[in-house]
């Protein structure tokens, strides 16, 4: 009898399609995965430990580096938590600017996901198309706050910079031209039969498993659960704009693909309405005490980042530095379902499923 052995393969930590420094030890029987154990922590920088010695303005640059693909939502969750604790009033114009940059960030983050996802599946060009359009968003952010990736834009009580003149018009122009770009993306990839055969029915799970594993964002909505924090627990000005929450049916990679593509269109819709109602004058910084000392107590605030529900739990003892700061990171929680999904899949599907969950390692390791 031929004795066959299982092959233990290290996928990562240095691997082209693990979206960062992430390793999976895979037990292979031929091409079929018997068991997958993820290993992480390569990018653990101890943000939560460092935060205990920094005051709140100093922590903001650290939040940029957590989910480096959507830094604005990280800024917002920390700043929103402190404002809620201190009961600060954020001026209208600042809140509008925050909303616009967050939605632009969502479109940019989904474009990174779309480009790299198709590159994982083998198509070379979509990556360049996505980054070509994302460049225009980065250019807008560069003009607004001086950086392309780590913005450090929001402050407790408002935003640091007002929109330079002509910036709002540029954003309007971008949003208008982005619609037919999305149509071009659909022509290029969404209808492609090879892509459909690669992602349809792969890595499927039902709504109950998704809730049990605490998934959030497109991973949760692709199973049919209509749960979007911008609608269910509205924050900032989202209650003013109408947009709908795309929901999938059978929770496989294809539904996640469609949900994310539709989310981009919904974000563009919100941006259009927000740019119409953008207030003329107004302050960008509310009344903030000289030293930000939130009162004693604790608070857990959560918003909808492109990857899911990002939460910020602050325990404060009344000092300028947080006593304990914990971030609920969507990529870390969404990644838990990967080992369960991989059992019985082939090596090529490993890449498809991992790309479908859309994780960013800076956020997983925090």
């Amino acid at each position: 009898m031929i004795r066959t052995e299982e092959l233990l393969l290290n996928v990562g930590p240095q691997h082209p399609s693990t979206h960062g420094v992430f390793r999976i030890i895979v037990k292979l029987d031929g091409e079929i995965i018997k068991e997958a154990t993820p290993v992480m922590g390569y990018l653990h920088r101890g943000t939560e430990k460092l935060a205990e010695d920094l005051n709140f303005t100093q922590i903001i640059p650290y939040t940029d580096r957590m989910d480096y693909v959507s830094a604005m939502t990280n800024n917002y969750v920390l700043v929103h938590a402190v404002e809620k604790m201190m009961g600060l009033e954020v001026p209208e114009r600042a809140e509008f600017l925050r909303l616009i940059v967050m939605e632009l960030q969502r479109v940019a983050s989904h474009m990174v996901w779309w480009g790299t996802y198709l590159l994982d599946i083998g198509a070379l060009s979509p990556f360049l198309y996505a980054f070509n359009d994302r460049e225009r968003i980065l250019q807008l952010f560069n003009e607004l706050c001086g950086a392309r990736l780590t913005y450090n834009y929001m402050r407790v009580g408002g935003v640091k910079w007002d929109a330079p003149e002509g910036w709002i018009a540029k954003v309007k122009e971008f949003v208008r031209s982005m619609h037919d770009k999305l149509a071009e993306y659909d022509d290029l990839a969404s209808g492609n039969e090879i892509l459909l055969s690669r992602i349809k029915g792969v890595g499927a799970y039902d709504a109950q498993t998704a809730i049990d594993y605490g998934l959030s964002g497109a991973n949760l909505r692709s199973t049919g659960v209509k749960w979007d924090l911008r609608k269910n627990e509205p924050y900032s000005l989202y209650s003013r704009f109408e947009f709908d929450v795309p929901v999938g049916r059978n929770g496989d990679c294809y539904d996640r693909y469609l949900v994310r593509m539709e989310e981009m269109r919904q974000s563009l819709r919100i941006l259009e309405q927000a740019l119409e109602q953008f207030p003329e004058g107004g302050e960008t910084m509310g009344k903030v005490p000289r030293v930000i000392r939130p009162p004693g107590g604790e608070i857990y605030v959560r918003i909808e980042s492109p990857r899911g529900e990002i939460g910020c739990y602050i325990v404060s003892k009344g000092k300028a530095e947080p006593f304990r700061l914990k971030f609920r990171r969507p990529s870390f929680v969404n990644l838990q379902i990967l080992p369960k999904l991989l059992v019985g899949e082939s090596m090529t599907n490993l890449v498809t499923i991992l790309g479908g969950i859309d994780i960013v390692l800076g956020e997983v390791d925090c």
């Binding site: 809620k84 594993y213 749960w227 000092k319 300028a320 530095e321 006593f323 870390f332 838990q336």
Partner: protein
């Protein structure tokens, strides 16, 4: 926060407030400077630095950091002492929530979630155990989030109750965070019920020497890695967890970094 530290706190802003920046620069002269640097524990290591000294070499910088570290240790010990004494005075720090809500002068109008909190407490007392709930309060900061402190031994059945009971029905464990409160360790669970949209926060306390909290992974799968991360960074053991290993730090790492008494490996950090 210890008494003299607070007094120093009030004193110091007084000096700054009363003078305009240029005099402040002259007042910065040696007289104020030495007083400020010892009294105010340099919470940010660079803070205690007097601008007068010549450029520091590396060992001096390390020495200064070690001094700052001792200063922080001393302050912490003092803080632990102060918190242990039943501080009747309205200490700005949390102390026990119940004390805080009780002594607010005119009792604020009962928050909308108060009935929900009482219902949960009542359910827990009936179905789990009489002494299951140690405390229950409304956290105004967090738009009236009902917060319960459940007894360590009773926590697993309480979790099952939270998950299964049709009134509570919290099927979504949204966040698990470990907190080192210096006097004791705490694990905070934020629960959400998807259908009713109600949110609960449950705290489970355990001592610092051998911290252990029953694992709720059988109840909510999402707790698996969260608990592993808390075990890895805070050292809280979770009996009943399928495979409790380190998740962030290398497997052979000694110590748990997020603990307050954790001596950093490299003082330069």
């Amino acid at each position: 926060m210890s008494e003299e530290e607070k007094r120093a706190g009030e004193q110091e802003p007084a000096i700054e407030a009363s003078q305009t920046p240029p005099e402040q620069a002259r007042a910065e002269a040696p007289a104020a400077e030495p007083a400020a640097s010892e009294e105010k524990p340099a919470s940010a290591p660079a803070e205690g630095e007097a601008p007068v000294r010549r450029k520091e070499t590396d060992e001096e910088k390390a020495a200064r950091r070690k001094a700052a570290l001792e200063a922080r240790e001393a302050a912490k010990a003092a803080a632990a002492l102060a918190a242990a004494k039943p501080s009747a005075a309205a200490a700005p720090s949390t102390g026990t929530e119940a004390a805080e809500t009780a002594e607010a002068a005119p009792p604020p109008p009962p928050s909308p979630n108060q009935p929900r909190l009482d219902r949960a407490v009542q359910l827990l007392r009936e179905l789990v155990a009489e002494d299951a709930v140690e405390e229950a309060a409304i956290n105004e900061l967090n738009d009236d989030l009902p917060t319960l402190v459940v007894k360590n031994e009773r926590w697993l059945e309480a979790a099952k109750l939270f998950r299964s009971h049709q009134e509570l029905n919290t099927n979504y464990l949204r966040n698990v965070s470990g907190v080192d409160q210096e006097t004791h360790m705490e694990v905070v669970y934020h629960l959400l019920s998807m259908d009713s949209g109600h949110v609960y926060a449950v705290k489970v306390r355990t001592d610092r020497e051998r911290p252990s909290v029953p694992s709720v992974t059988p109840v909510w799968q999402t707790a698996n890695w969260n608990e592993r991360e808390i075990y890895d960074l805070l050292g809280i053991d979770f009996p009943g967890h399928p495979d409790l290993r380190r998740i962030m730090m290398p497997d052979d790492w000694v110590g748990h970094p997020l603990r307050k008494d954790y001596v950093p490996l490299d003082s330069e950090v």
